[in-house]
């Protein structure tokens, strides 16, 4: 699996780059670029329903599951990437 390889030598920048097309697809914006500082207040179209879609797509594609409290305190994409790092490292 290509994803697995990338992950074993993973850096946060890699996951962030992997997420770019996913965010573009889900938010339906072909030219979108997200950064670690992106969040629902500074990205157009990132409403509560889009948020569910984003989380669900990430869970599906990385085969991880966020527990009920993990997502509450996340302030931006950077913190999400950090959380994914931890989850993927302990998978």
């Amino acid at each position: 699996m290509q994803c697995e390889k990338q992950r074993s030598a993973s850096s946060m920048a890699n996951i962030l780059e992997e997420l770019q097309p996913l965010f573009r697809d889900i938010l339906d914006q072909p030219n979108l670029r997200i950064s670690r500082e992106s969040n629902s207040s500074n990205v157009e179209g990132w409403d509560s329903l889009a948020h569910i879609n984003l989380v669900t797509a990430i869970e599906q594609e990385y085969d991880i599951k966020f527990s009920i409290d993990e997502l509450l305190d996340l302030k931006n994409v950077g913190e999400m990437v950090d959380l994914m790092e931890i989850k993927l490292a302990t998978k």
């Binding site: 697809d25 889900i26 569910i52 797509a57 599906q60």
Partner: protein
């Protein structure tokens, strides 16, 4: 664009793009109001895609979260203004309010069911009075926990019992109400399993009740119901032949070697798929063949004695070497249907891909190449959904029923003879035929209990015997009111002057106590008479497993000629006389050509 070929990840991730691509179809407009008990955007977005692909463009209205009752019954202004064609009430067991207490008595239980039912009936009544639209109402998945364990489905205070009962009440209502359609969430959730149905993290965080897989199942089933409401259900199942309706390649292997019947695991799986197709036909779905084959060779497959489907079951038959998408167009024209009425099943992914790309309106489920997965794939698509059933749909009676019903039947009869008569048994008893040699060999090697000599034979032995005129061979197949038991009994007799030595007599235990051994004896005697045999000699060789047939020959009226002191070996004799009276009265033996 073929949604059937998309994985669940692709569907979820590319919803927006897929919707844009499908918008170009010429569409009929539909307005659907969703009265929801949880967050159902996922279901709605997926259903929107599937319906677009079917040429139905839907505009949705969603009630406020968990205001499904209020917006229908109390404050209905918004939904009335929306003027929906369809109202979809989507709730789950998490929305039920009137659970009976664990201590409930029978009358409590009745009262709680009536109260909860009445809450939903008010919704339906209100919708019908104010809007007159179709109503699609889910029934309920079983609850996520059962504090009473198995008793939960039995005790009057059990939630499982409560839901089972409520679901039955919904069905009873829908039977009489032409505007009300029940979405069978109980069955959908059971098929996926409760653990794969509820999504607790998403429930607590977002009030999304179901996993993505469950949302997909809900969307597909909603699509199927709506398609059916607007006359867009599929009408014809088009089937490939080799490795789809039978195992093997008929042109290479020969018609007698295709895998069909009950004799091997693979053959049985194909037989069950044929039976499924036949059941679809008996509820009014047309069957057609689209196969790359020589036509005459292809047709021989349905003359195989074990083929459930017969040539006459097909409304159109195209076996040739033309591209399949061209044949599908020809089939649709012949049957006076649109290609959008067709569902195409083929084990070959290349053929499926070709048809999907050339004829996007044909449904091409991803059935894979494993026959055991064909039925689940067809069921998941909901292609042949119908909102009601009419007498005309059932042009043929179902004959296939489960084995356990035999036992049920048995208890109702005055005596055993009456039971046997009720089974309406017919037998096919004849000399070994090439098509059955594998099964016969298999039986000689695995039958231990009803086996008089327990002699084992190789496939080569059996073939030699079948061709050797010094042998009289018989196989017995038994069919009864519940289905075909397949080839279940074998006799090998060797002629020696005017004597016939029974070297092998066996029967599968699945047809014990059916008098099939009497029918076999009658046929054996008839053939012995033709062959001028005067004496039939039977042998019993005891093994640790075959004591059930120690007195087999005694019961058939043979005379004991010799017996060891310990009864391990015995020899039995029957004189063949011209006035032999057939012993079997309960099985009708099909006429066979004596050779």
């Amino acid at each position: 664009m073929h949604l059937d070929a998309c994985s669940i990840q692709e569907l979820f991730r590319n919803k927006s793009r897929l919707r844009r691509q499908l918008q170009n179809h010429s569409c009929r407009e539909l307005r659907i109001a969703v009265l929801r008990g949880s967050t159902v955007n996922e279901v709605i977005e997926l259903a929107e895609l599937f319906l677009l692909a079917e040429g139905l463009r839907c505009t949705f209205y969603e009630s406020e979260y968990n205001k499904y009752y209020e917006e229908a019954v109390i404050d209905s202004e918004r939904i009335v203004n929306f003027r929906p064609d369809i109202v979809y009430v989507h709730t789950s067991c998490m929305n039920l309010r009137g659970w009976p207490p664990l201590s409930a008595t029978e009358s409590d239980h009745e009262a709680f069911v009536a109260a909860e039912f009445s809450r939903f009936q008010q919704i339906w009544d209100s919708v019908q009075q104010r809007l007159g639209s179709h109503i699609i109402q889910n029934n309920f998945e079983l609850p996520p926990f059962r504090v009473l364990g198995n008793l939960d489905s039995i005790a009057y205070g059990g939630r499982t019992r409560f839901i089972n009962r409520l679901n039955l009440e919904f069905a009873n209502q829908a039977v009489h109400d032409p505007r009300l359609f029940v979405q069978d969430v109980h069955a959908l959730s059971a098929a996926l399993g409760g653990r794969n149905w509820f999504d607790w993290e998403r429930w607590y965080n977002y009030k999304v009740m179901t996993t993505p897989a469950a949302s997909l199942a809900l969307a597909r089933s909603l699509t199927a119901i709506i398609r059916s409401l607007y006359g867009r259900s599929r009408k014809c199942l088009v089937l490939d032949l080799d490795n789809t309706l039978w195992g093997g390649v008929i042109g290479d292997d020969g018609p007698e070697n295709i895998k069909i019947g009950r004799e091997t695991a693979v053959a049985e799986a194909y037989t069950v798929f044929q039976e499924y197709c036949l059941m679809l036909r008996s509820r009014g779905i047309l069957l057609a063949v689209c196969s790359k084959n020589d036509e005459e060779t292809a047709k021989q497959g349905f003359e195989h004695p074990d083929s459930v489907l017969k040539l006459s079951d097909f409304s159109s038959f195209r076996a040739n070497w033309e591209p399949k998408h061209e044949n599908l167009v020809a089939i649709a024209e012949e049957l006076n249907l649109g290609v959008d009425s067709l569902v195409f099943v083929d084990d070959n992914p290349a053929e499926r891909a070709l048809v999907a790309s050339q004829l996007p309106m044909v449904a091409v489920p991803d059935v894979g190449s494993d026959v055991t997965q064909f039925i689940p794939a067809l069921e998941a698509g909901g292609y042949f959904e119908t909102v009601n059933t009419s007498a005309e749909d059932f042009s043929r009676a179902d004959t296939y029923q489960a084995n356990w019903q035999r036992a049920l039947l048995e208890s109702k009869f005055r005596d055993y003879r009456e039971y046997l008569d009720s089974l309406q048994m017919t037998a096919d008893i004849d000399a070994f035929k090439p098509v059955y040699l594998d099964r016969i060999t298999q039986l000689t090697n695995k039958t231990n209990q009803f086996n008089l000599t327990t002699r084992r034979y190789t496939a080569g032995d059996i073939q030699k015997i079948s061709l050797d005129p010094t042998y009289i061979t018989l196989y017995g197949k038994l069919t009864d009111a519940f289905g075909d038991n397949g080839l279940v009994s074998v006799i090998v007799g060797r002629k020696d002057g005017s004597t016939l030595h029974i070297e092998l007599w066996l029967m599968s235990c699945r047809v014990l106590k059916r008098d099939l051994e009497l029918a076999m004896l009658d046929e054996l005697v008839a053939r012995a008479q033709s062959a001028r045999i005067e004496t039939i000699v039977g042998y019993y060789n005891r093994t640790p497993k075959n004591t059930m047939v120690a007195d087999h020959y005694l019961r058939l009226g043979f005379v004991c000629e010799s017996q060891d002191s310990n009864g391990a070996h015995s020899t039995w004799r029957l004189q063949v006389t011209a006035d032999y009276q057939p012993r079997c009265r309960t099985i009708q033996v099909r006429d066979s050509v004596h050779t």
